[in-house]
């Protein structure tokens, strides 16, 4: 039920932030880019729930869901997206750069695949210290085409470093279909080139993602090296707010039938864990939390430019 509640929180969060950003744009403000992860909630929640405290997570520019699922404070995420001093990154990062050092949430990244090479470093640190931690590096189907994807997976494989490469294949790199980015049926098949396991999962099935991640994490903790997990999914919205929707209606409708939250709700109902009234209660509770967070953001001050140089260097 906690996983369901988190998926709902991510969905409601993305909807509410889209509304706030749209209102700000209408008011002549330019609030920055917003990359909604609506439709991809099962991946953030399934992966993060399979991790231990202390494991490292490198997120992406579509990383609000990862941050929420990893336990970053909702109020402070809302504040960060809106450039407030109380934000998780003090207003220095914004939507694409959510960080929480204490939770080992190692940041989103404005560079496609930018976190992939950094994940090598935390994984190496874990091996050196023998602390048994694993590192998750999220990336997308677009990120799987950059050179650093190959450099990073190769190095982790050579070294047997504990990295879980989680590809959120939402079918489109901005507006370019995955078939134009990858000649293979599955991005996970690239694992063969590096001699590591590659697994394709239904990215809208939170329980399968949880199980697959837990197994890969266990393998990594044992010292058996990285795993490439490809989660096939679909984002509900266009790449970001400034790019108009371009994907075929039929395709969008087909994926709409496979909504991860509806499917998980049905599963919980079938198994007698929840009923419709309980699920509705969860939605209401999350909306109340969100309203509190928006109020917190509105009451928060803007960051102080006097501290800029102090933040740059230790």
């Amino acid at each position: 039920m906690a996983m369901y509640a988190m998926m709902v929180l991510i969905r409601r969060f993305e909807l509410r932030m889209t509304e706030i950003f749209a209102a700000r744009i209408r008011a002549g403000d330019f609030p920055g880019a917003l990359h909604s992860s609506e439709g991809q909630e099962a991946i953030a929640v399934g992966v993060c729930n399979a991790l231990e405290q202390g494991d490292y997570v490198f997120s992406t520019y579509r990383g609000h869901g990862h941050a929420l699922a990893r336990g970053l404070d909702l109020k402070r995420i809302v504040a960060e997206l809106n450039g407030k001093a109380t934000g998780v990154s003090g207003g220095y990062g914004g939507s694409m750069h959510l960080y929480a050092a204490d939770l080992h949430f190692m940041g989103g990244n404005g560079i496609v695949g930018g976190g992939l090479p950094l994940a090598l470093g935390t994984a190496y640190a874990s091996v050196k210290r023998g602390d048994g931690r694993v590192t998750v590096a999220f990336f997308g189907d677009g990120g799987a085409s950059i050179g650093l994807f190959h450099e990073s997976v190769n190095m982790a494989a050579v070294k047997k470093w504990p990295v879980l490469y989680v590809c959120e294949n939402n079918q489109y790199a901005a507006t370019t279909h995955v078939s134009k980015n990858c000649p293979l049926e599955n991005i996970a098949d690239r694992s063969k080139a590096y001699g590591i396991p590659g697994i394709v999962v239904d990215g809208n099935d939170v329980m399968t993602i949880l199980d697959v991640t837990a197994e890969a994490a266990e393998r990594a903790r044992r010292g058996s090296g990285p795993t490439l997990i490809e989660c096939k999914t679909y984002r509900h919205r266009a790449h970001c707010m400034v790019i108009p929707e371009h994907r075929p209606n039929q395709e969008r409708q087909a994926w709409g039938q496979r909504d991860p939250i509806e499917r998980f709700g049905e599963l919980l109902t079938e198994r007698g864990i929840a009923d419709e009234a309980m699920l509705a209660q969860v939605r209401d509770a999350q909306d109340r939390k969100l309203a509190d967070a928006v109020r917190f953001m509105e009451e928060s001050p803007a960051p102080n430019p006097a501290l800029l140089e102090e933040v740059l260097f230790a």
Binding site: F58, Y92, Y99, L118
Partner: protein, 322 residues
């Protein structure tokens, strides 16, 4: 006292830092049992083990990325780029990741990464193994840059760099590979941001760094008795010791900056701006900058020499100025 070559001094600084702290680690291409193509990590794997000193695949961007992630997890990596020219391959991890992670996180992470790399021309290796790229990194807020001109400073600046909680690039000039110096026993640091006045004089302030600072000193000795030069070796370019430069120009009224990297948008331009803004009234003639010609470094010796300031060029310019 004992005599040490440049690389031995750098190696000693890493060895001492690794002895002091288990968090200091060292890796890169050929850095494991081979000890680095320049011998930077010679003997370190044997002393500190494969977990702390190791070879990586040939992948500069991933090497820098590993260092960045390891630093974010609390380690203090010292890595080598075999030539500064190869930094182009790692630019995203250097500029968008290493230089910015602390800043973008609102100061949550430290970034104690030290990058050691050789730079400079004079070895007939053509334009992809001969560059001086410091201006790029000075133009990327979040990275400190040191370029020593003595073996003593090589060790002291590298020790200071490893102790820093910020990214520092220590760039040594290949033309100094065989330089050796009498050095004291034991440990020392040279603070980043402190220039050295190598020669006290009254007529012209000559600001330089790295191999060019050595060349300027030779010219100064040759001209002594004729032109009395004050020679400032910057040692570190970010932070830069602005005060020492301004004070000297207020005394001499003349400024020449000499470096190997291209003059356009380079350190010389930056130093001249600072002087013009803060000591214009002290200047008795226009400040000058001698630097690399606005072409890639060519291969043939005759071409290569024509592209970087030679002792004759420095002397001619100085005679013209006084």
């Amino acid at each position: 006292m004992r005599k040490l070559k440049l690389i031995q001094a750098l190696n000693e600084a890493i060895r001492e830092a690794m002895s002091d702290s288990d968090d200091v680690v060292c890796f890169g291409e050929d850095m494991g049992d081979y000890g680095g193509v320049w011998a930077l990590s010679k003997g370190l794997q044997k002393q500190f083990g494969e977990q702390r000193v190791f070879d990586t695949p040939l992948a500069e961007a991933a090497i820098v990325g590993t260092a960045v992630g390891a630093a974010m997890a609390g380690l203090r990596p010292v890595i080598e780029l075999m030539y500064i020219d190869f930094s182009t391959i790692a630019m995203d991890t250097l500029i968008n990741q290493m230089a910015k992670a602390r800043f973008m996180s609102g100061g949550q992470f430290s970034m104690p990464v030290t990058i050691v790399a050789p730079c400079g021309a004079g070895t007939c290796e053509a334009s992809q193994h001969s560059q001086s790229l410091e201006a790029w990194f000075l133009n990327s807020p979040g990275i400190k840059v040191a370029m020593p001109s003595t073996v003593y400073d090589c060790k002291g600046l590298l020790a200071a760099a490893i102790a820093e909680d910020n990214p520092v690039m220590v760039l040594w000039h290949k033309g100094m590979y065989d330089v050796s110096e009498e050095l004291p026993e034991g440990r020392w640091t040279v603070p980043l941001g402190s220039a050295a006045v190598r020669r006290v004089g009254t007529q012209v302030t000559v600001v330089s760094y790295s191999l060019m600072a050595r060349r300027v000193l030779e010219v100064a000795e040759k001209l002594s008795g004729e032109i009395d030069l004050e020679v400032i070796d910057l040692r570190s370019l970010n932070p830069i010791d602005e005060r020492t430069i301004i004070e000297s120009v207020r005394k001499t009224g003349k400024l020449l900056v000499v470096h190997e990297s291209p003059v356009r948008c380079g350190v010389g331009a930056d130093v001249v701006r600072r002087v013009v803004e803060q000591a214009m009234s002290a200047l008795t003639s226009p400040p000058r900058v001698l630097g690399g010609r606005d072409v890639p470094i060519p291969f043939a010796k005759s071409l290569e020499s024509a592209c970087i300031p030679q002792a004759d060029d420095i002397e001619r310019t100085l005679r013209h100025m006084v």
